[in-house]
Amino acid sequence: MTSKHILVALLEDKPGVLNRMSSVFRRRGFNIENVNVIDTINLGDSSLTNLTRVTIVVSGSKAMVTQLKRQLEKIIDVVKVSEIPAEGEA
């Protein structure tokens, strides 16, 4: 069953890192519906330095999105990926 998923990724703040990430979406056949990128310096959390936070909305089955998440986690410059509940979920 296809539904919307929100993935939040913390990336090392390095040139080309967004390309690495979007390349996985392209390669694995996912369409990015919405993307938001922010340097974590603007989040006011001192535990997050030299990082970029990317929030992405994609559609797909749960299994497909789990696979996508694992592929993203394989990127060396990706520090962490988590899924947050999409609208309408608990």
């Binding site: 090392e12 080309g16 390309n19 390349s23 592929q71 394989k74 060396i76 962490k80």
Partner: protein, 562 residues
């Protein structure tokens, strides 16, 4: 100490205990080559085409377990590496590729021999770097070797602008790496290990399916302990061949598209598959919905992204194959599976891998004779195609890494340059390059490397005058329309002779053994052109889209089989 970027490259390679680099110079990379004479302990093997450098580094890495290193110049040097890097990526081979780039000041201007090397290689490397700051070069190289050899190994590319190579900076090699996004899990989750052991202990018809991860992790001993403790039969993937001795009573060969029928029946009949260090490639599984229909699946792999990618898994265990198997085996209750083994033995007796009777020269016969003559002691390196499948089927591999072959990418032309790397890495081993006439012609310029480096590689060309595997498919699925597959070749013996390499042509059965003995008697390289039956096909075969149990054992000559 102050050093130039070029010197830092060599110093770093020495720190990583690199003994040999396979490469090809060009304009942008001259600074690296210019400093090579300062490092006489470093061996450089000059290939004839950069693809050969990557394949040689790949063969070297598979045969030795060390990181293979290749280097090339900017532009076409880098793009020529691409096939070889991809091959290493698909087969999880540890490799560091070093390319030169145009000077920083002209990057992005389409300068002479400028390409976006890191852009091109992004999806085919485990990681890559463009070094824009000479001070970061040592750290980048340290990280590259760490990434290449740990976790699921793979190729890492380092692209270095020529002015970075020329610039001097303070050099010290870092002791440690700091990669917050890279923490491979080595130890299996204890609860999952316990569940797996319980499942194994309860299974009636368990089957171990071992892949290349066993060889990478050096888990041969643990694998054998598990098989023997639980009396569990073992089949291997193409790249898993040799990770369990094929002469062992519990070995039942290779399943898959051209696997033994009895191995495919074993997968079909099992009630538990214990998959170790493998990724359920489609050439292995056949139609997924028909794969191991009676079995629960335990999947042990170091790459979490492989778990559940193709096959539903009942017990996933992320970790290093050696550590996980070592933990599982401690909880295995000794028990027999005599009924199951009897069934497997019966299938093997009823469906043997045989060679048909034929007055002509059959490729399978040639490969069996090469195996017999070397008593199984050789390392066999192959190209891709029919000869590759026959080499996998008709030799008995008892040692890890004794078959070196291109699996995931299926790269024709891999054989000869890979055997360069294998022989450099294992100079005391007998190395046979079993190649097809099509595969060989893709990279046969590496005969020049073999001659220049005086590498005693023995080359057997299985010459059927066709791009045989494609012709086989045309015969089976395209009503024998042999379009663009008949292949004329040069006189391979004369080609070898032109490089100063002796050779023989064999057209009859009687000539096979004497020619092989002659080759083995030579200290240096030797080439044999075996002119074989032109339309011999590879069987057994699981047709594309079929389940493993639907394996076709006998040729259906002149008819469409499916």
């Amino acid at each position: 100490m102050k050093m130039t970027g070029a010197q830092i490259v060599w110093e770093s390679l020495l720190k990583e205990e690199v003994e040999v680099v396979f490469g090809f110079p060009g304009g942008a990379i001259i600074p690296i080559y210019d400093t090579l004479p300062e490092y006489p302990q470093m061996r450089h093997v000059l290939v004839r085409h950069e693809q050969g450098a990557a394949h040689a580094a790949d063969g070297y890495a598979r045969a030795t377990g060390k990181v293979g290193v290749c280097m090339a110049t900017s532009g076409p040097g880098a793009t020529n590496l691409v096939t070889g890097i991809t091959n290493a990526y698909l087969d999880s081979v540890p490799m560091v590729a070093i390319t030169a780039q145009v000077a920083r000041s002209v990057i992005g201007t389409d300068a002479f021999q400028e390409v976006d090397t890191t852009g091109i290689t992004l999806p085919i490397t485990k990681h890559n770097y463009l070094v824009l700051d000479t001070a970061s070069l040592a750290r980048v190289l340290k990280e590259s070797f760490h990434l290449a050899r740990t976790g699921r190994p793979g190729p890492v590319l380092v692209d270095i602008p020529r002015d970075v190579l020329a610039e001097a900076t303070e050099y010290s090699y870092p002791e440690e790496v700091n990669l917050p996004g890279y923490k491979p899990v080595l130890e299996g989750h204890a609860a999952q290990v316990k569940r797996a052991a319980k499942m194994i202990n309860e299974a009636e018809r368990p089957l171990i399916l071992a892949g290349r991860g066993v060889a990478i992790a050096g888990a041969h001993r643990e694998l054998r302990e598990l098989a023997e403790a639980g009396e569990i039969p073992v089949v291997t993937t193409l790249l898993g061949i040799g990770s369990f001795p094929e002469s062992h009573d519990l070995s039942f060969g290779m399943p898959g598209m051209h696997g033994a029928a009895y191995a495919n029946l074993a997968v079909d009949g099992a009630d538990l598959i214990i998959a170790v260090g493998m990724r359920f490639d489609d050439r292995l599984t056949g139609r997924l919905s028909g794969f191991a229909p009676r079995a629960k699946v335990i999947h042990i792999d170091i790459d979490p992204a492989e778990i559940g990618k193709n096959v539903r898994v009942d017990v996933p265990i992320v970790g290093d194959a050696r550590q996980v198997l070592g933990a599982v085996v401690k909880q295995i209750l000794p028990r027999g599976h005599s009924e199951w083994l009897k069934q497997l033995g019966q299938w093997r007796d009823e469906h043997p891998l045989s060679v048909r009777e034929c007055g002509g020269l059959l490729p399978q016969y040639v490969i069996r004779q090469i195996y017999e003559a070397t008593g199984g002691g050789a390392i066999v390196v192959t190209g891709v195609g029919q000869h590759q499948m026959w080499a996998a089927q008709h030799c008995c591999y008892d040692r890890p890494n004794s078959l070196i072959s291109s699996g995931g990418l299926g790269t024709m032309g891999f054989g000869l340059p890979a055997s360069v790397g294998v022989k450099v890495g294992c100079p005391d081993d007998v190395v046979w390059c079993i190649d097809g006439d099509g595969s060989f012609q893709m990279t046969m310029q590496e005969l020049g490397t073999i001659a220049q480096e005086k590498l005693g590689v023995k080359i057997a060309i299985i010459n059927n005058g066709y791009l045989g595997m494609v012709r086989q498919w045309q015969g089976l699925f395209y009503e024998r329309r042999y379009v663009a597959t008949p292949l004329s070749g040069p006189d391979f013996v004369q080609i070898a002779a032109a490089y100063g390499i002796p050779g023989l042509r064999v057209t009859r059965r009687e000539g096979v053994v004497p020619a092989i003995e002659r080759a083995l008697g030579e200290d240096g390289p030797f080439l044999i052109d075996f002119v074989v039956e032109p339309e011999e096909d590879v069987y057994p075969m699981v047709p594309p889209g079929a389940a493993l149990a639907e394996v076709i054992e006998e040729p259906v000559r002149g008819e469409v089989a499916v």
